[in-house]
Amino acid sequence: MSSHREAPEISKDPVADSTDVYAFVSPDAPSTVTLIANYIPLQGPAGGPNFYEFGDDVLYEIHIDNNGDGHADISYQFTFHTTVRDPDTFLYNVGPIESLGSTNWNRVQTYDVAVVRGGSWHGLGSGLPCPPCNIGPLSTPDYGSLAAAAVNTLGGGIKVFAGQRAEGFYVDLGAIFDLGDLRPFENLHAQYGLGAFTGPAAGVNATNHLNVHSIAIQVPISALTISGHPTIGVWTTASRQRVRLWDADNGENVNSGPYHQVSRLGNPLVNEVLIPLGKKDLWNSLPPSDDKLFASYVTAPGLAGLLPALYPGVFPNLAAQVASGKPRADLEAILLTGIPAGLIAGFTNLTGSVLADMLRLNTSIPATPADKQSIYGLLGGDLAGFPNGRRVTDDVVAIELRAIAGVTYPLVNKSFTPDAAASKLTDGLTPASVSSSYLNSFPYLGVPYSGFDNPS
């Protein structure tokens, strides 16, 4: 979750496994949008001696659809290059790394950034430095400054960063994947007659003290939108060449052939929770424009049927809705088309009739000041939060749980009354469940946890 190890094949390929996508109007640079794509899930900080890094053989992209057809109009491409300065030592670093140019740093990764727009490829930056991983007080004594130096300013008012960050997505993985347990309500769980829980409990953030690798880019809104269409659709993909062959003579993989997509992520939890197991890797390989193939899994989500079964008597109205067989047009709007005008006062992020899983951001809605934000986004009356794009602090687990439980169904069916529990659903976590504080400026995700301070 939200897309960590979500499909059988991609779970075996962590460097190409996208975990989260964020898109929001930058609160401290309101004429820009910040796009973040995270990869390499659930990194233990003490991952030495070969600390985590992007795949040199993976093409990472962040795509923008600005005309609502589910196809990329703009794609930012990121490719990585790793250099080993001294192959005769086993060490990642041979002394403190106090600057990005430190010769103590033995395994260095840089990257190139390009944009494909209208089929034309343009390089934006080359040989840009990634920071090292956060190791500890001896190896990376001032990590915050070191990583800050890896924020690069390119032409056209673009900022980029690529490197390790603290995981900002908070979720109680341990409970949720134990047959849909939500600890704050676990006394209401059917428990299969096992009597495992006697009362409610506090949520546990399974991703706390873990890291990810982030690709972040901040771009002027004017460079992403077209006239009259302030809403953009955003998603990320990772692609590998068709052929990978182990060259035993040289001890490395040989890659050949065209790139094919192996990972995709737009809205959180769609592939993770809505798409069935047998189609998850297929979903990962296709563009959003093909998502009509999967629309039935959105409009009749399996989880909506499970909630009344897992929590007997708690969701009678949801159970009746599921039994009616009526498609969930509210979920289709939230996840596949955007929300049309007239359903929520002063808001729309509709991109058109094409069914496509994209994170839709209406860029004309300004960022909400920090002290007025709701982590429940639109459900909390905050028009600048998920599912209008996604901010790093948004509680997408609670928002999507509540939506699937029926909270948003009255938007399209006024006669439906959500169950009282639906608007209270949560796994019990908040942004405070993330130990490394979010940043107030680009790249917004917190300083990664060091191996020294988080050894297990």
Binding site: S75, V84, R242, L245, P258
Partner: protein
């Protein structure tokens, strides 16, 4: 230390003759894989490409792939001669029963 790209380039050069030996496996009626470092021009002129593809925007970033890249031949079906040829970021599909049979023999 040379960069990864420089290392790859050096390996590609020294591998030209050594890798002229087909590697991999191809069995009649089953998909197989072969790698060779023949230059693209070394491919038989009799081979008729039936299709080729690159991957959208991904290809745009990698059009500079040179002929020193390894060539990977995938015999999808030796009986029908259905073969895929990969080089750089390109893929060509062709049908050549004779070539497929030769590769299959070499793999035994």
């Amino acid at each position: 230390m040379p960069s990864q790209d420089a290392k790859r380039a050096a390996r590609a050069e020294r591998g030209l003759s050594r890798r002229s030996v087909l590697q991999g496996a191809a069995t009649a009626g089953a998909a197989g894989l072969a790698v060779t470092a023949f230059g693209a021009a070394a491919a038989s002129p009799a081979l008729a490409a039936t299709s080729s593809s690159t991957a959208g925007s991904a290809a745009a970033a990698h059009e500079e792939a040179g002929h020193s890249d390894p060539i990977v031949v995938h015999v999808r079906n030796a009986r029908t001669g259905d073969i895929e040829v990969f080089s750089g970021t390109s893929q060509t599909r062709l049908r050549d029963k004779d070539l497929a049979a030769r590769i299959a023999r070499a793999a035994r």
